[in-house]
């Protein structure tokens, strides 16, 4: 093995852990403040009641559930993408997977908070958990919200393990190259990893098993989230297409979030040699595919509604196309398809900057998409006498800002504690390019890291 190369990789990839720059501090400070604002807003809502939100009758869900669906969607960045890439053996995945898996875990943690935040009585959220109690009461297993509870639990647990397993060798590396308290912490976390041939073998086997299991779980999670709507009998909710539509949308927004995160990490931690244009190019192509799929689903969903011409559905449809929600609707179409698709389709524009701009559009567009699924339907109930509208209050906006800040904060802290590019997998990637002999060639180094 090439010692100099190894040391270079270690230095580059562990830099984020070893050195603390001002940029990082500022990010943590700002996101910390954002989080505090969100927590304060939630405390206020807890104290006063959910009336401090803009909800009303008939719009009983709005920003809360939009954010829930949005974050669960973002969580599909990681586990699903990295698992699919792992299972299909895509070599270029290596520098990308950890970064994606971390997004999954944090987005999921935040997404799972929203169903609790949105409760009228958040202090009794544990009634959704099946546990033996004195009253002899159990949750209603027929409710999609309970399915959500089980699905999110399984997915969060699986994602955590899936993030943790490939992290173990890197934790051992950190343990062996640090001192003092850090060493103690990493010793515990690395669980006695020594890097024996047996351990490597079992680790890879286990990761493969996890990757295979986690794909159906991830698909099921967003399908179940979509069923929160599809199981209801409300116009434009009660749609059989919702399961795959939501999954596609989730992967779509997930890839977009991943591209943005990667670009930020590349810039802040100087990972230019690891996160290369080719990664952005490949993810950009994936994003383009998802954009087309998204458009296909959206088109079929709206076309069937329009063609069917069922009055109640048509009312919701019209409110989106030409009614009060039409600016949002066209913003969504622009952000999810009209802007990103051509940008990603033209090779010249599929640069790092290009993909990041497209991704930013997609993230915004997909947030709007969720909002447009929830609110127009609710504001147009079947009995037209009860039609209403919705306007958010500062509390909802603060909680949403808090959730975004929390995500950035968690990510920043994670990056500070663990290498964001998997060190051993990256090295392994280099080695696998140069079978059977060890990698010594600079050219090979470039090839493996995807130049």
């Amino acid at each position: 093995m090439d010692r100099a190369r190894d040391e270079q990789i270690n230095r580059d990839l562990l830099r984020s852990v070893r050195e603390t720059g001002w940029g990082w501090r500022i990010v943590v400070a700002i996101s910390g403040m954002g989080l505090m604002a969100g927590v304060a807003a939630f405390a206020y809502q807890w104290q006063e009641g959910i009336g401090v939100w803009g909800l009303n009758r008939p719009v009983m869900w709005a920003f809360d559930i939009t954010n829930f669906v949005f974050w669960i969607g973002i969580s599909h960045a990681g586990t699903l993408i990295s698992a699919i890439l792992r299972v299909t053996g895509a070599g270029w995945r290596r520098p990308v997977t950890r970064c994606a898996e971390a997004i999954t875990v944090f987005a999921l943690m935040i997404g799972a908070l929203f169903p609790i935040i949105h409760l009228g009585r958040p202090w009794v959220f544990y009634w959704l958990v099946p546990y033996p109690n004195e009253r002899g009461l159990w949750p209603n297993f027929r409710s999609p919200l309970i399915w959500d509870f089980f699905a999110i639990n399984a997915y969060l647990m699986g994602s955590l393990i899936y993030l943790y397993l490939p992290l173990i060798p890197d934790l051992a590396l950190l343990r062996d190259t640090s001192r003092g308290l850090r060493k103690r912490i990493y010793s515990v976390l690395s669980a006695g990893w020594r890097g024996t041939a047996l351990q490597w073998d079992r680790l890879e086997k286990a990761v493969r098993v996890m990757a295979v299991i986690i794909i159906p779980v991830a698909v099921s999670v967003h399908t179940i989230v979509s069923w929160d709507f599809a199981m209801a009998i409300q116009p434009m909710w009660h749609s059989t297409i919702f399961g795959p539509y939501f999954v596609a949308g989730a992967i779509f927004s997930g890839i977009a979030a991943l591209i943005i995160a990667m670009a930020a990490l590349r810039r802040v931690f100087h990972l230019e040699n690891y996160l290369k244009p080719v990664h952005f190019n490949n993810l950009g192509l994936l994003l383009l595919t998802m954009s087309l799929i998204w458009f296909y689903f959206t088109f079929s969903e709206y076309l069937t509604t329009w063609y069917g011409n069922e009055p109640m559905e048509k009312a919701v449809f019209q409110s989106k196309i030409s009614g009060p929600y039409s600016p949002l609707f066209f913003a969504m179409v622009a952000c999810c398809f009209l802007i990103p698709a051509p940008m990603l389709a033209i090779k010249k524009l599929r640069t790092i900057t290009g993909t990041v701009i497209a991704s930013a559009c997609v993230v915004v567009g997909m947030w709007i998409e969720r909002f447009l699924i929830i609110v127009p339907t609710l504001s147009h109930p079947r009995l037209t006498f009860n039609w209403g509208s919705y306007k958010p209050t500062w509390v909802e906006i603060a909680i949403m800002t808090g959730s975004f800040s929390y995500f950035v904060l968690l990510y920043a802290v994670f990056v500070k504690m663990f290498p964001i590019v998997s060190v051993w997998e990256f090295k392994e990637g280099l080695a696998s390019q140069t079978q059977p002999g060890p990698a010594t060639d600079k050219k090979v180094f470039r090839a493996a890291s995807g130049d």
Binding site: L119, L128, P381
Partner: protein, 238 residues
């Protein structure tokens, strides 16, 4: 003496509303508020679509000016036999009773508001804040009905407190319930006697008779919700 089957068979409560008789006077709305301790949200909250009325008169205009007709339809919880609100509740706060009522247990409600979203009739009301009664309305609170707290859903119960009293009375007299035993607040207050309440399982009851009328219809029957509220179409539409 009533026989054993009559005793054990639970009454099936239902309501019939004659739209021909409804004048839209809203006496039922007021009576319901007073009977059921419904919070007064005030003008500001009301303007934000947060007013609570377990029963409301929906008013629809028909025709073009000057030939305009106004149609009134009192809408309350339809006590669906296949209620969309029930299966979606994660904690069984809303469920079905053996008397065909669609029950809402305030204590158990965690406030997901899913039931309200899934109710095609929009008859579920959420306590966005702790309920308030501007003085002296707090003196008129009914001790036989719960005071709801913030964060829970509420809706028409067919005046469950009156149902229980009526059943108790029938039991004391050792007979099955009959018309007149249970009169919910809205029914009792209707000046034109447009509303009827009774046991639809008893084929001799007024409600059962009206349900067989050729004017009888149920709201949004096509959804398969099987409501327990029967509307009698206006004769000019029948």
């Amino acid at each position: 003496m009533m026989n054993e089957t009559e005793k054990t068979q639970k009454p099936q409560w239902a309501m019939a509303i004659d739209l021909d008789r409804c004048t839209g006077c809203e006496a039922c709305v007021v009576a319901c508020r007073i009977e059921n301790n419904i919070a007064v949200v005030g003008p500001e909250e009301s303007a934000r679509d947060r007013s609570m009325n377990w029963i409301r008169i929906e008013r629809y205009m028909e025709g073009e000016f000057p030939d305009v007709r106004v149609r009134f339809r009192p809408v309350l919880c339809q006590h669906c036999q296949e209620a969309p609100c029930e299966p979606v509740c994660p904690v069984y706060a809303t469920y079905h009773t053996e008397e065909g009522l669609n029950a809402q247990v305030y204590n158990r409600c965690v406030g997901t508001r899913y039931c309200a979203n899934n109710c095609p009739y929009s008859v579920r009301f959420f306590n966005f804040f702790d309920p308030q009664w501007p003085a002296p309305l707090e003196k008129s609170l009914n001790p036989e009905v719960s005071i709801r707290t913030r964060g829970v859903m509420e809706k028409c119960t067919f005046c469950i407190q009156r149902i229980r009293k009526g059943e108790e009375k029938a039991r004391d007299e050792d007979r099955a319930v009959r018309d007149g035993d249970v009169i919910p607040a809205c029914v009792g207050s209707c000046p034109t006697k447009a509303m009827y309440f009774g046991n639809i399982a008893d084929s001799n009851s007024e409600v059962a008779r009206l349900a067989r009328s050729n004017r009888a219809e149920r709201l949004m029957e096509d959804l398969g919700t099987e409501p327990r509220v029967i509307y009698l179409r206006k004769r000019d539409q029948a």
